[in-house]
Structure formats: structure tokens, C-alpha cells
Amino acid sequence: MTQSAAAKAGRPHAVWAIPGVLFFVFFAVAPMVLAVYLSFTTWNGLGDPKPVGLANWQKLLHDDRLTQSLTVTVLLTVTSWAFQTVVSLLLGVWAAGRQRNRAVLSAIFFVPFLLSSTAIALLFYALLDPNFGVIHQDTLGSTSGAFLAIVFVGGWQFIPFHTLIYQGGARQIPDVLYQAAAIDGAGRYRQFFSITLPQLRNTATTSSVLMIVGSLTYFETVLILTQGGPGTDTAILPYLMYEAGFKSYDFGYASAIATFLVVAATALSLALVKLTGFGAMRSTREGM
């Protein structure tokens, strides 16, 4: 199609994309390219970055803390995904129904998502204080306690959002399916597992990709709740990057971690899309 024809047809012209593209290039692509460049240099924030070749990347490969951090990050991602998916799937399906008070309760459930994650983390930090908090236990002082606290606080914040996604997905399921199932004698549970779940496949993929990529960049909650502690037990990759950059002022190494994170997150979300068949966008309504 020629340019003028596109314009005549009132279809999106490439020029229309300029604001969006500029914004994206300025705030996403340029910083990423700079980070890749910085990962091959040593720079403490002053003067000019000095090229050091692959030194930062070699350090990355041999850093014990990175290995530990990677393990914690994966563990956190998987646990958060499992926790958030189960809860928001159930809540979402429930909220899609036509019960009394449903709208009011759904609105209340949504409130945590509207709060800033810093405010939420500070709130829970105060609640978990061993001396003046609500539970008189050193939750954040133990490895499992600190880990679960991060999973819980993250869930508390993001479950409302994913509930909304599942609610939307569940609303799209045609009533005829349930009516037919009811005629066939399927009970409530059978209907959930045989109709609701399969119909929500694409919704689940969308929500999971968002959760998993989101967990990889989960930062402020860790910074405020545990500072990567106890010791280094909850120092996930983004926190390690922050520490290298803004505490040690080793921006070269921090950029190497950042680049690694970008590559890992992109690869992971591509793999997820591929594995779940989301890319092919097969309709859940086939044969209807």
C-alpha cells in the first residue's frame, strides 16, 4: 500500500507513531543501549567511563552473589506466580458472578493496587516490626520469614490487578456453555474445571507473563522490607544491581547486571508466549 492511499483511507500513518516512538526511544531504548555500553566500561559516576572489555561480564560469571541472587529471584518469581495466580483466579471467577454485594467487594479488593508500592512496603515494614508491630516475632530476621513477607506483600499489592484480568476473562465465557453443562448434569466443580479453566487459558497466559516479568523487576518492596537481608538471602537481581550501582558506585558492573536482567526477562517472556501457544492466539471458542 502506498503512503497516500493509507492517508486517504484514514488508516494510521507512520507519522502518527512519532510521539510514541520518541518517548519509547528516549526512555527505554536509549537507556538500554547506554547500559549495554556501560557494561563494557568501568565508571564510578565521575569523569568519563573507561572501557574495560569483558571484565564486568567475567566478574558476572564468577560472582557467587549473582548465583545466589539468581536462585532467590527464580524462587521468588515462581512462588509469587503460584500464590498470585491461585488467589486471583478464584477471586476473579467469583467476582465475575452475579452475587449480591459483589460490585462493592470487588471495588474494595481493588484498593491495594491503587496504592504506591513504597507506601505499601513501609506500611508492612511497620506492621512487621518485632517490638512495636502486630505480630511480636522477628519475621524479617529469618530467611523464610523475610522471603514469605516479600511474596505476601507483593501478592497483596498485585492480586487485585490480576483478579481484574481474570474477572474480565471469566465474564467473556458464554453462558450457553454452563447451561449445556448443567443439562448434562455437571456440578459446580465440574463446570469450573471443564469450562471455566480451559476458557481462561489465554487470560492465564497474559496474567502469568505480566506476573513473571513483573517479579523479575520487583525492587522497592525488597529495598524497604529487607534490604536484601537477612545477610544476602533476599537480594534479588534488581537489588544486587542497585547495590552495585548506587552503593558501591560501580556503574559498569551494575549495568552488566541490568543488561543480563533485560536479556533474561525478554527471553523468559518470549519462551512463555511460545510454550503456551499464546502467540498463535488460538481461540478458546473453536467449534462454537
Partner: protein, 434 residues
Amino acid sequence: MESYSRRWFLGAGATTLLTTGLTACGSSDSTGSSGTVTAFVYGDDATKVQVKAVTRFNASAAAKKAKGRIKLEKVPGTDYPAKLRTAMGSPNAPDVFFNWGGGSIKAYQEANQLVDLTDTIKSDPVLSSGFLPSVLAAGALKGKNYGIPMRGMQPVILFYNKSVFAAQKLQPPTTWAELLDINKKLKAADITPFALGGADIWPELMWLEYLVDRIGGPEVFDRIKNGDASGWGDPAVLKAAETVKQLIDDGAFGKGFSSVSYVNGGAPAVFAKGKAAMHLMGSWEYSTQLGKFPDFAKTNLGWAAFPKYEGGAGDIRNVVGNPTNYWSVNARTGNKDAAIAFLRDCASEAYAKDLVANGDIPTTSNAEKLLDSSPNPEFAKFQYQLVQQAPAFTLSWDQAVDPDVSTPMLTEINKLFVGKSSPAEFVSALKGLK
């Protein structure tokens, strides 16, 4: 559309990138040539002294002569080092900035961003004889001065809760054996011996600083500070770490200390409310308590030197902590004369009086006679004499070494305190820091 989209996007991207790159590298020498001198200060309660100094200076004849005005920028506390680093790497760098001397300014000195004040101080009697020599020297790098003392001295002191001590019929410890004995009695009475804000890590550091000094003397850390990482292998470091471990295992800090914070008020509250009997903390603990629990600060807050360690090499009079804070001048300043004229005000009696009124102990040579007007003359004199008589004043470790060493060092200290590494593992990890 198909025919030109990809190349077009790439072109647009490249153009934008170039523009960004050029802007980033473009200007690097445009710091306040207008005569206004920007000063970055650590934004806590004590900035009121600097606010007054700025007002005084801007109205003074010295300011008119140097054709400059000072503009004070208060940078919120915890973010200060990172914000300063970012600013110093940008065209909007401050002309004058607050720092801790030593390792905190080393990177700036190496990047030639600091004005060497050695000759300025030498040729100016107001500066050269205005401050305690040990304090002036503590802010120096390799014998050259880059900073002028601008706040009170901040030695680390063993604070204790007088009413708890009276109720348990105890005296503050002067030896390690006494300290252990007190711990035992306090625990029997279900009182945590020491408050500790372990979530911030630097309060944990204070224990190691004092223990290494008392066990091995100030020379041990001196060696490390001067870049010899094998200094961590000194037996005193291992012994200090073992002593810390023993304290933790004995419950000297209570159970939840690793998630108690000093900064958000947890540890001071535990201490003031009598849940803990003692608190090893910088002298600012007094003003913190005065702000949060004034009655406790005025009547029940006691203080003592860190006890002696039997058989150790360190003098009980040795002190660790921050000798003071300093103003340094950016080499790129557009008005060096005004900046230095402003720094001279820190040696003035008016400035020292403001510090004293704020509860601080100035590091000026004229300070002692002013201390009677301090809100707490007894505490003020204790501190001044502590520092004046100290054979050695060890700068806080995290300020004395480079940030790229101090960050992993603090992580290792935290691992030791939360039991993630043994004293031997702690020592070998520190030896690996270069």
C-alpha cells in the same frame, strides 16, 4: 507502509540517541558562574545551624567582597551520598558540599573535583588555628586538606538507661568482664542488655569498630584503611568477630535486632522505654532522644566510654566514630573566593555558639569555654574531653574506606550478625575485599 517502516524507525531511533548522547557529554563546566554558590548539606535536624550561617554570610561584608551568595540545598539523609555522586557527575554539581572526609571524598579527589585547601588553611590563621588539629587532619587525604569541619563531633558512646541500671543496682561497665556480668543480671530480669538497630547495619559496625580497637589497638584498622586488605587477617579482627558472636548467642541484643532499625526510631524507642538497658551509638543519640523521648533524654539517659577488653592492646580512651563533618569545595566552582569566605565562617564564635545551642560539640579550638551554655553542659563536656584526650580517633570504617569496599564490608558484617557466616568465614570474606 511496509516499504519504509523498519528503516524509518531505526533512523528515528538513531537520531534521538545521538541527540541524547550529545546532551549528556556536552556541557561539563558551567557550575554557577553567576556568583551564586550552591551548597549541598545532609538534610537532618542539625541543618538549622547551617541555615543560620548562610543567612549571616549572605548579609556580611565578606559576601559582598567576594560578590557571592550561598544557596543551601538540603538533601534528605539516606539518599545523600547517591544524590551527591549523581550531582557531582552532572553539570549541576554543587560548589560546596557536606561530607564525612576520608573515603567519602576519595573518588572526588581522584577525579580532580576537589579544591586543595592545604595552602589556604596554612596561610589563614583563622582556619589554621581555629580547629582541633586531630579533627582537621582526620578529614585529610594523604596529608592534604580538602575539608573544613562544619558540624559537631560525633564519637560513639555507650549510653545506658539510668532508671534500669538503678532498679537492677548496676554501674556502667568499665571492663569486658563487668559487661558480661551486667548482661547476665539484665537477662535474669528479662531486660535486653543492648538495643541494636541491626536493620541499618551501621549500628552493628560500631561494635566491631570498638572491639577491634580495644583488642588490637587502632593500628589494626589503620592498616586496612590504607589499602592493605590482608589487615583483616589480624587476629584482633577474628577475636572481635568471635566476641560479637558470643554476645549474639547469649542474647545480648535480644531476638529481633536484625529487623529493628535505628533510622525509623525502633532502637531508640526500645532503649528509652526500658526494654533494653544500653545502646552503643553515636553522640547524636542524645538529640534523637531529646526529639522523641525528651523526658528520658533529660533525666534517665546516662553515658560512658566503651569498656576495656582484658588483655587487649587498645587504650580505653580511644574513640571511634565520626570526628565531624566537613565542607569541601568543588574544583569547578565559579566563585571559589565566595566559597572559601563562607567556609571561614565555620571557625567563627557565632557558628560555634549555634552548634552548642543545638546540642552539638564544635570541633573549634575555642569550643570548651562555650560548653557551659550547652543544653546539657555535663554531656557536652564529657564528649569534648573524650575526644580531646583520645590518643586515637578512628573514623567510622564505612566512611574511611571506598564505597566499593564499604558496601560488601557492611554486607559481611550483617551476615556475621544474623548468623549467616561464622567469625572465620567473616574474616576470610573480608580479606577478599580489595
